[in-house]
Amino acid sequence: MEAIQGMEVFAIGVVIILFMAVLKQFGILEPMSSFEDSSDSDLELSTVRHQPEGLDQLQAQTKFTRKELQSLYRGFKNECPSGLVDEETFKTIYSQFFPQGDATTYAHFLFNAFDIDRNGSIRFEDFVIGLSVLLRGSVTEKLNWAFNLYDINKDGYITKEEMLAIMKSIYDMMGRYTYPCVRDDAPSEHVDKFFQKMDKNRDGVVTIEEFIETCQKDENIMNSMQLFENVI
């Protein structure tokens, strides 16, 4: 007899479920249907757009000529029609230049270096101002920019941890297949060497003055700063 009792309860349960399913169809049971709406919102087109300042202002702010700015903007707009580069897109673009390694971490630091107002996206003005410094700026300006890149929290000091993070990200870009093989302690070794060179007062951090001073004395670094003058 118990089996039959159990079956009856089961049958009633099934009937109730079916009843609810039918009611849902008629929209009487609203609470379930709200889940479906949220998926539609994925199809909303993002309408965030940004137009850059006029050509004249940009010309005033940077050291590029009109034609160069035009060419730069065309390339920029082609890749990012909305006028804004968000971090993911930036990482994707940058990673394509380093297919054998993982460039995402370094791209992240780079993104922060370009995104001056820290709003999570690079506008064309940020892009072009950064490029102007890198390509047409004085050596001091370039060194300033590099310092800004290394200083992750932008507090004016490069600590060993920050430098280690940067160094690891650079080595990550190399990937696995290198000669000789990248050892696990290579980044920290490199960081130690760097600090030895830069940190004059041995206080464990590198300030902007120490950095610029040391770099100006190093001939290699000064030469390499001039390497990319003709990129545009």
């Binding site: 089996a3 099934v14 079916l18 082609n78 290394y150 950095f211 290699n220 390497l227």
Partner: protein, 622 residues
Amino acid sequence: MAAGVAAWLPFARAAAIGWMPVASTPMPIPPQEKKKGQDGLIILNVSGTKFQTWRTTLERYPDTLLGSTERDFFFHEETNEYFFDRDPDIFRHILNFYRTGKLHYPRQECISAYDEELAFFGIIPEIIGDCCYEEYKDRRRENAERLQDDEEMDMNNDVTPVNLTYREYLWRAFENPHTSTLALVFYYVTGFFIAISVMANVVETVPCGTLPNRSKEVSCGDRYALAFFCLDTACVMIFTVEYLLRLIAAPSRYKFVKSVMSVIDVVAIMPYYIGLVMTDNDQVSGAFVTLRVFRVFRIFKFSRHSAGLRILGYTLKSCASELGFLLFSLTMAIIIFATVMFYAEKGSPASKFTSIPAAFWYTIVTMTTLGYGDMVPKTIVGKVFGSICSLSGVLVIALPVPVIVSNFSRIYHQSQRAEKRRAQRKTRLARIRAAKIRGTNAYMRYKQNGLLIDSLEEASKEAGQALVGKAATPPFESQHHHLLHCLEKTTNHEFVDEQTFQANCMEISVMNKSGSRTSSMSSSPHGLSSCCSRRHRKKSSFSLPSTNNQELSTIQIRERPVANSRSSLNAKLDETVPLKCDEPYITPSMVSLSAPVVTSSDGDGSTTTAYSQSNIVRVSAL
């Protein structure tokens, strides 16, 4: 690297300044960048439609035509632009590829035209974007299938080579009943006997009234046992003979024995022989009765006679996975519902649901909505679950069926298309041939008028004068004629018309004998006889002109384009030169002109229409 990203390369290089202070070794020297000049606009004139783009846009893909120095070959100094004599509509997509980095395939374009353009501009089709790639691949596959079908049809429709062995002849007769009347007769006879045999099997079991000294009804088979036996024997004789003949004629016996149709044949005739061999042993008579069931497989022999049956069989084979899924899901549902019903009906007195396997029958009958009514649930719970069972049965069966249906529809339409193409092809080919005739007729005319003169200049002068009713021969024509003449001189053979050739070569006699022969009958008999005895397999390459069979009597119409599909119909008579006297499926169609009429191209048109009609007639008669 994608094109758009290439635009960011300067940025990436600039950002490399970030590595400088931490570099352990000095940096390498950057590559010398020659000042390429400012980024200028390039004008691309494609058949009159002007496209403009930046030079750097094009140079993103340096391994294509537009991105490399190859485009300099198309530079037109007078207008300072690059001129391409191609399709501007398709070029639009190609240029967009440079601009956006994505190649799209427009649905309305013909796939081969598109492929040609891609090949011309040096772009590999694999980079078509994901949005269009599937469509492109589908169309390409369809096109390839179509071309393959045409090829197969070409091979199937060969006119019988004269020298087939008897065995091959037999096999062709079996496979293609339309090739000869004997084969057709045999085809119908076997079909008739299959029908007779099947009907005899059926009628055998019908009750035929009572015998005088018995009260029970006997079936017709028992009553007229002898008659049925004779009928059966006759049918089996025919089937056996047919099977043995097929076995002898098959080019690959092993493959033939393995094929489905031969298995069906064997299964159809075996019961008779086994019945002969076995005596009226009581123990085996039960098995003997079972064997008679296999006689019904004779009905499958009809599939040789009916294309529809074959299509059905092929469809089922190709839908094997869907059918398998259907079976699996049904089995699952049956087990579930049988269990549930069994336990639901367990308590009810005198319930027919004695066990779960017994409940299987109920579940199957309910799910397929048959509902015989021999087993019904009596409890309320049972009825609830029974109704759920029947509803779900409808759903489970309805799901895979459309897949099977669409498969069948696709295959059926494909076969319909093949039939249609076969029917259309004859008219198409006849028309193409008529156009070609104009070209060859012009040449024959030219020869008629100027032939006996050896020197080229005089011949062309005369020909020119004779040909010219009113207007000068177009330079293309005269150059073409000159070329043919050169060929004749090279090989020391001449082009002749069909009549002459066929008179010399033992071919099927032509029904239409039109017009006078041309005067150029200096073909060497040696060449003719050698060509007749030779068997050429049809292939796309042609023998070199230096061989000694150059009579132009058969114009080979090739459906499959030889490499260059842009060859004009007139131009490539060289292809027609190799003599294929054994197997033109397009019968020789060059007809010599009824002499005096033709001097100008206007006359040409009227006479060729007459010819084309006669040609069409001839084709269909074949």
